[in-house]
Amino acid sequence: MAGRRSGGLALGIAVVLLTAGPRVHLSAQDTSRIDRGVRIGIIYRPGVRPGFVLLPRQVGGLDSARSIIARDLDYSDRFEVITLPGGDSIRLASTTPPPVRGQATARPTAGGGAQAATLNYPLYQALGADFALDLTLAGDTAVATLHDIAAGGVRRAIRARLPAAGQPDFRQAVHRVADQILQAALGTPGIGATRVLFVKDGKVYQIDQDGAEQKLVSASDRQAMSPAWASDGRRFAYMEFQAGRGQLFVQEMASGKRTPVATTGKALDFTPAFSPDAQTLAFSRATEEGTDLYTINLKDNCCLRRLTVGRFSDNLSPTFSPDGQRIAFVSTRPGLPQIYVMAPDGTDQQLFAPFDYGVTGSSNAPEWSPDGQSVAFHRDVAGTLQVFVLDVRTRTVRQLTSVGRNEDPTWAPDSRHLAFVSDRSGYRQLWIIDLDTGRIRPLLQQSGARLPAWSPRLPEATSSTP
């Protein structure tokens, strides 16, 4: 311990090689020395994803924020998150001792003020890291210092006031820090501060994208279905189902106040979808003539307009392109439901996702990606459902899932993650897949969740508890 300053290098290496130490949150899968050895080996093989090191700190009050950020960075699937063996620092720069209180057993963390931090960049580069993050707390302000290893300097220091841990806003505030870190590192925002709405036991719930803070957002005696976000993240629409009738509502996230959508509820109205400007709500209406698509002017809550006249076929499940110029939907005109597309006024209807007549199974539940390039949907394959993605430009489809039954995909705002319902674990629950890496993780380990809807990046106001 005496060599805290001058002997940092030797001590750090010793820690790497010898200590079993406390586990870091990141490294849940790495619990044995053998695994660590494998990990270290990987470090010397450059991956396609940038390596990311989250510098450990033994600072009271930050562990929670630190683990939230670590998980967000991991769940972004954009980095090779490098786990430091031993859970302790191999940081080599040492300025002033960190303000550790009551941690007699604290390891020789080489921490200090973020502003003064410098790293042994060549060592981190040798470990395969492209970025290193140092997270410190100054009062109620978190300082996230992102180091660019190759450039040998600080890329950006992000300061954010955090509510006290446990406060309703705390986790969302931390998620926003994580999103800024990702933005600073890669130039693209993260999906930390997002949530997923879903239906369980006839009620609408929300859950943070990292699986935390599940909360009831809409409950009545009637059965809820089909939640759908407005693109501002401040409202969502959903359907209440009772005795063969379906009524649509628009509910404000912050206040919980809900408004019935005009003309709905007398027939079976379902699958609401906001236009990107949130001025229009498209939905399906089932009558004795069959099921067809309609729109309502949300601004004035009026002016029903019919988009399709199916007669002997059904048209349902609308989803707007992000530019608002197209609506993808399901039509049974080929006999079985398949994915079609049209102009938002109902003209220019055409097949969207190709299929083999008489071979391809039913295709349903389309959702247009936020970047406009893809439409996710599910398709019946050999009697069960699988998630597919249509490439809008080439109009080709690819199957994403094959294990178990997988349905109702919904896009994350980064257009590379999808949440969906799967029974791959034995019962139906929510999962998330990264399209680029194929990595799949459970979002909610509870049975019976369905019809998920992933939010856009949420504005600060909506993160408050209704």
Binding site: A286, T287, G290, T291, D314, V330, L336, D380, T384, R450
Partner: protein
């Protein structure tokens, strides 16, 4: 005298038959006592005819009432049984193939029975609820259930039932009849249910 009386008796018999009673027993009419004078005879004959006619009318009326009473008695006696039987027939479900909404040929007979019941009970109004199994898409099944209810309604309407007597509903896959995750359960859950919503207190057999 004789031929007239005979003719009269025959006529009376015919009248009785014509009254619709279908009664086979011949009527025996006591001849009116002979009068000496032709006028008396004529008057007696007229009286006799009138009396006979009145008697015939009375009997015909009684018989009609008896038949009506019998019908009513039959109906009352069987009413509970009949109503239950009719309700049971009416409630029998029809089933569908996976992802289909066409009426299966083996269900046409079931629907024909409902046509007959609806025709025999003009006040009867029903609601058809279309259901799906859990295999399909949750939201699409709302449209499919609607199609299934409409398919049964269209069948009934095409067989002469007024469409205003039939409501339809879709339940999608939200109300399975049988829990289970195999074809045995699914095949029972892909169904139309039939429910009486009016005029179903006393139901007549077709």
């Amino acid at each position: 005298m004789k031929p007239v009386s005979l003719l009269f008796v025959i006529g009376l018999g015919a009248a009785v038959v014509a009254a619709g009673c279908g009664k086979k027993t011949p009527q025996t009419i006591a001849p009116v006592a002979n009068a000496d004078s032709a006028a008396a005879a004529e008057r007696a004959r007229a009286d006799s005819a009138a009396a006979a006619q009145a008697e015939a009318d009375r009997r015909a009326r009684e018989e009609a009432e008896r038949v009506a009473r019998q019908r009513e008695a039959d109906s009352l006696a069987a009413l509970g049984r009949n109503t239950e039987a009719v309700r049971s027939t009416l409630a029998s479900m029809i089933h569908f193939d996976y992802d289909k909404s066409n009426i299966r040929s083996d269900d046409a007979g079931t629907l024909d029975q409902k046509v007959a019941i609806l025709q025999a009970n003009p006040e009867l109004r029903i609601r058809i609820g279309g259901h799906c199994d859990e295999r399909g898409s949750d939201e699409y099944n709302l449209a499919l259930g609607n199609r299934r209810a409409q398919a049964a309604k269209q069948y009934l309407v095409s067989h002469g039932i007024d469409g205003s007597r039939i409501e339809t509903q879709s339940w999608g896959e939200e109300r399975p009849l049988v829990d289970g995750h195999d074809e045995t359960a699914w095949s029972q859950n892909r169904r139309d249910e039939f429910e009486i919503i009016g005029g179903g207190d006393n139901l007549h057999q077709p």
